[in-house]
Amino acid sequence: MEALRKKFSLTLPQNSIRIIRIIAALLLLALIIVRAMDVAAKSQFGADTWLRLSVSGLIIGGMYALIAIGYTLVYGILFMINFAHGEVMMIGTFGGYFVFEAFNAIQVSGADGNQLSFLNAYPVIAILLAFLAGMTIAALSGLFLEKFAYRPLRGAPRLVPLISAIGASIFLQNAGQLLFGPQRRQYINPVVLDRGIGWNLEVAGSTVVLTYTGIFSLILSAILMVGLYLLVQRTKLGRAMRAVAQDKKTAALMGINVDQIISRTFVISGALAGAAGVMWGIHNGLFNYYVGFLPGIKAFTAAVLGGIGNIPGAMLGGMFLGIVESVGPAVLGIDFQLKDVLAFTILILVLIFRPSGILGEALTEEKV
């Protein structure tokens, strides 16, 4: 293998490696297709299952996308993996939880004179406030994270902020465990967003439930993504963020307060992760201090998948990963236990075959 490479590298280095990679990728694709057709031929699952899986994939994908945007924004500006981003999401989940808990404890008299919890009397306000709280506290933790763990390390070698981020992640996770305990908690949703109820669709002779929580999450994540896209593309702040991402020095010369833009980037990333965290709680119910870890890594995978630094890429990558994770095991006929393995395998394959991601441009060459 090494000898082979040496021989080629003197004559056609770039092309030969590229051709080998393309052939390998095609082989892999063929393998997957064959396997999928094999599984499909057995027709183990009906159309209802497929629909159910794809919808749940989309819903989870939306949350991944929101978190992935945070990774991409920060990476685009600081060229660092904000390893603690998953923990920011966890903080958001707790924020929303406590709002629901508090409103659930407050009793008011409803329209017909019955005693009701505030949560069910004014569900819209409760939900709004839960998101507001989750997003705010997550945004704040993003802000402090940057201020205390990353800002003092500006200009240090790449490994240093990354290690700091890992430290912050360990710290936040364990602080979460010590503060709130290791036990799993259950989100108390307002009755209108009860988990398990939704629209019933008749597909292939059986019922598929499109849960309200799921549809709600999907719509909300779509709204937030559009909002973020407009913010980055249309506003002054967005323009400044893009400028800083391109070239910090020049941006500073143009009168942009780089530190402030970086802080705001962390705030925006944190808010999105917080929203994803509250959605996670509303949709899935159970959570504890560890809730952010896997979504964090998955969302990073999604960001790489879409091309890190690229916002539409992160959205696409999140959706893609969500669907692959939920439909993939069924398509390939493997155990659902292995969905995480599938996600990580995809990450490794993407890095091997297309390091710049789906939408990413070729990685920029280092200026020497």
Binding site: P13, E365, V368
Partner: protein, 270 residues
Amino acid sequence: MKTVLEARQVSKIFGGLVAVNKVDLVVPEGSIASIIGPNGAGKTTLFNCISGFYTPELGDVLFNGRKIQGMLTDKVAAMGIARTYQNIRLFKSMTAVENVMVGFEPHLKHGWITAMIKTPGYVKEQKHIVNEASRLLHYVGLAGLGDNLALNLPYGAQRRLEIARALANQPKLLLLDEPTAGMNPQETDVMKDFIRQIRDDLGITIILIEHDMRVVMNISDQISVLDYGQKIAEGNPKEIQANPRVIEAYLGPGAAALSEKYRREKTHDA
């Protein structure tokens, strides 16, 4: 005379920016060839294309008649092209001697197993490169500073250390990117003589990027002028000094006419 390096129609594009645009360059063996041009003209980018950092989108780079574009930088270095950097890039937390010793890397024969056992051959090789590295430091004028960390050396010494490290590669072609940047006139003069000395002592061909015109005009056998990625002039120092396009590129449009007028007036007065 034999050609050491030849660039044919080399082009490098960043996004929409054509940083190097179809540049031809022929450097004969044993010469000092300078590349000049205003900031952002693409000089460093051309160096990067030669030394393997970038693969040019178009064109060929030939070293001793062999195409080298697309090769990894370590292979290029092993073939005999060494370089220094515009913004000094030493291994900062290593000592000066160690920096130079890294430069011997492409010529080392021993690997991790012999290093583990410390075979006599390995020990001899190590001793040899320590000696040679010390001698190189002496040669560039850093004798006695070898055990200092690179980051603790003064600026001028760091520039010299970069050259020593490049020389440890035993290059046939040496690329120097603004070796006198940030130096005062005296230091610049010393460096100028030193560059010439490297060529004379060691017979190494040198390509030099330089902004200081006194240095360029003094030691160059050949000068190429880049502007907006294109080669706009080439020749010996005299020819370049008189070339109106060069003056224009440096001083802006109309400058050539102005300076011509100025010169005529001066001769008229005399």
